[in-house]
Amino acid sequence: MSIEISDLKVNIGDQPIIKGLNLTFPKGEVHAIMGPNGSGKSTLAKVISGHEDYEVIGGKITMDGVDLLEMEADERSREGLFMAFQYPHEIPGVTNANFIRAALQARLPKGEELDAVAYYKQLYAEMDKLEMDRKFTGRAVNEGFSGGEKKRNEILQMAMLKPSYAVLDETDSGLDIDALKVVSEGVNRMRSPERGFLVITHYQRLLDYIVPDVVHVMKGGKIIRSGDKSLALELEERGYDWVLDETAA
């Protein structure tokens, strides 16, 4: 049970961004992808989640054996995939509670209504864990939220949707240390043998809190090296260049 990416090639316009990438992350594990700016990390997150701006010109992505590339973004989500956005979108006029409710409703069979009482009970419980004020239920999704509030809100959505696989795209960006702890704890609470994580980050700092099982280094649209969590520390200490030098050699 895993997400398997094999020989993935992705263009934006005529520009190749991902150039034959291979990566497997199974349920029960946390994999981190690190890499310098422009290595294609965020593109990978968007392609996995089904963003239409990216043209997949080769390769495969499967989730528990099912071809993800054949599915629309909303189908992928309902099948159990989640992406936490680097820049969560603002939706004026749609309250947070209604947005998450619509997402849960979309997972029910036609004609079946979500139990509103149970829903709010669960929502409040998850918000409490993330130290989110109740007022965020009635506020428009991400509108006027601080950077930290937006990221908490992403984790709240993940906690409510309970995905099988979650891709976290630069979840640490824009977070102060307190928010980083809360968000990381939110992720750690959800770690389970039934769930796989792909954590994309530029900095090692996040991985102090969300300790990965495997660390991958991405550069030039490929995974150029994989290792255990010590690889992240080494990258932090020595920068990315030594990996590149070693790979070239």
């Binding site: 963003h51 973004a73 979108h89 939706i91 979309a106 428009a140």
Partner: protein, 437 residues
């Protein structure tokens, strides 16, 4: 030419009303007669008239087809009374069917006057003479305002004395029934010092298959420190025409919030003016329209700051489907000496079809110092990025677009901060969505 006069014998635009037949007091008949003379002397709008830029003049000219509304049979009236049930809790409710009072649940409070216009002109001549249509229509519809004045006999006169707070809304329903029927509903609300009231007008057609005309005038006269909330919900049949001319006169520290909701009619022309005439006066002008097929909304506004330390905030939103079309022309005018004015004006158009069209003409005229003013207008479709965020949470594109559009509209009516009205307007918008899908 004889045939011509024969085919249009009862056009409300070209035939004088039978003033005596109304049975209304002489002073009022005289006033209506002179209004008729003024109206007939004024020409129909022309292409070269600035206030009618981008307007569909054919629609204005076609008003000639409308006739005086006939009286209705009992069954029809009963049906309309049953349909007059938007808000669950009200402090008063009035139903007018083809301009006749069909139902009245009269609100009671110390010194409150809340009467059908026809009764008010009898019983409160002095108050009426003081306030009835004292604000000239200045945004293009002078002719139609005078026409309204010459025919108005339905609608409400509400006078809230100083210090009186009416907590629940007062509702008035204005139904038009019969092909080419026309109604001229009037609303005049006068609030005394530190009083409070909320009033909702509904304009509706008895039958979706009949074309009618509603030509309404609404005057809000907000006394010192009073709080006045006003909502106009227009859901006439999609072949109907609507003219809604409203003015707000806000005295010192008065706070007025008014909301226009436009769901129906083939053509709807709204003209809304706010005069801020005392220090601390505020007027929030809100509007939300959801036109589809070939519906047109034509909106003209003026925020007139006549005194220093006054504020106004305008938010107009149009969600345009199919081949619908909107025109928004708004002006903020700050008089000489009206320093420390805060005035904002925003028009947003959500284009839900490639064929929808939005025209916006925002304007500023500032003649004072220390003024904070802004105006802005945007038009655009729902973006792929908007939809992707929903999709990424499992919400299908169609549902996403509907939620986004609802949110776009809800942002406007949420500003009234009135839960029951918010829910009621939300339902009107959702009903429209259901018709569209």
């Amino acid at each position: 030419m004889i045939a011509d006069t024969e085919t249009k014998p009862s056009s409300v635009l070209t035939t004088a009303p039978d003033f005596g037949a109304t049975g209304l007091p002489q002073w009022y008949q005289d006033l209506q007669r002179s209004a008729w003379e003024a109206s007939s002397a004024l020409p129909l709008p022309k292409r070269t008239d600035e206030p009618w830029r981008f307007a569909d003049l054919k629609r204005a000219a076609a008003l000639e087809a409308f006739q005086t509304a006939a009286s209705l049979d009992e069954a029809t009236v009963k049906g309309l009374i049953v349909r007059s049930s938007k808000l669950e809790k009200t402090s008063g409710k009035f139903v007018f069917a083809n301009e006749s009072l069909a139902y009245a649940d009269r609100p009671e409070a110390d010194g409150l006057i809340c009467l059908p216009l026809a009764e008010a002109v009898e019983k409160h001549a002095q108050l009426l003479q003081e306030h009835f249509m004292t604000q000239d229509a200045t945004l293009g519809s002078e002719k139609f305002a005078q026409l309204h004045k010459s025919r108005a006999k339905s609608g409400l006169f509400i006078y809230v004395p100083a210090g009186v707070e009416i907590t629940l809304p007062i509702e008035a329903y204005h139904w038009v029934s019969g092909e080419n029927s026309s109604v001229f509903p009037h609303t005049l609300i006068v609030t005394g010092e530190n009083s409070k009231v909320t009033v909702v007008d509904y304009y509706g057609s008895a039958s979706e298959s009949e074309a009618g005309l509603s030509c309404a005038v609404v005057d809000l006269v907000a006394g010192r420190g009073s709080k006045l909330r006003y909502v106009a919900c227009q859901s006439l049949s999609t072949t109907s025409s609507n003219i809604h001319i409203s003015s707000t006169l806000a005295s010192a520290d008065a706070d007025v919030k008014s909301l226009q909701v436009q769901i129906g009619s083939a053509w709807s022309r709204t003209e809304s003016v706010s005069h801020l005439s005392g220090k601390g006066a505020n007027s929030d002008m809100l509007s939300v329209s959801v036109p589809s097929s070939k519906q047109q909304v034509d909106q003209r506004t003026l925020q007139h700051h006549g005194e220093a330390h006054t504020t106004s905030d305008l938010l107009y939103k149009n969600a345009l489907y199919d081949q619908s079309r909107s025109v928004f022309a708004g002006l903020i005018k700050v008089d000489v000496g009206a320093h420390y004015t805060d005035a904002y004006q925003t028009c947003r158009n959500l284009l839900l079809s490639d064929e929808a069209e939005a025209n916006s003409m925002p304007g500023l005229e500032i003649n004072a110092d220390q003024v904070k003013c802004s105006h802005g207008s945007t038009s655009g479709p729902i973006t792929d990025e908007d939809v992707f965020y929903f999709n990424a949470r499992g919400i299908p594109t169609e549902t996403a677009k509907q939620l986004i559009t609802y949110g776009f509209a809800a942002e406007v009516f949420g500003k009234l901060k009135h839960e029951a009205i918010e829910a009621m307007v939300g339902q009107l918008v959702e009903e429209k969505f259901r018709q569209l899908s």
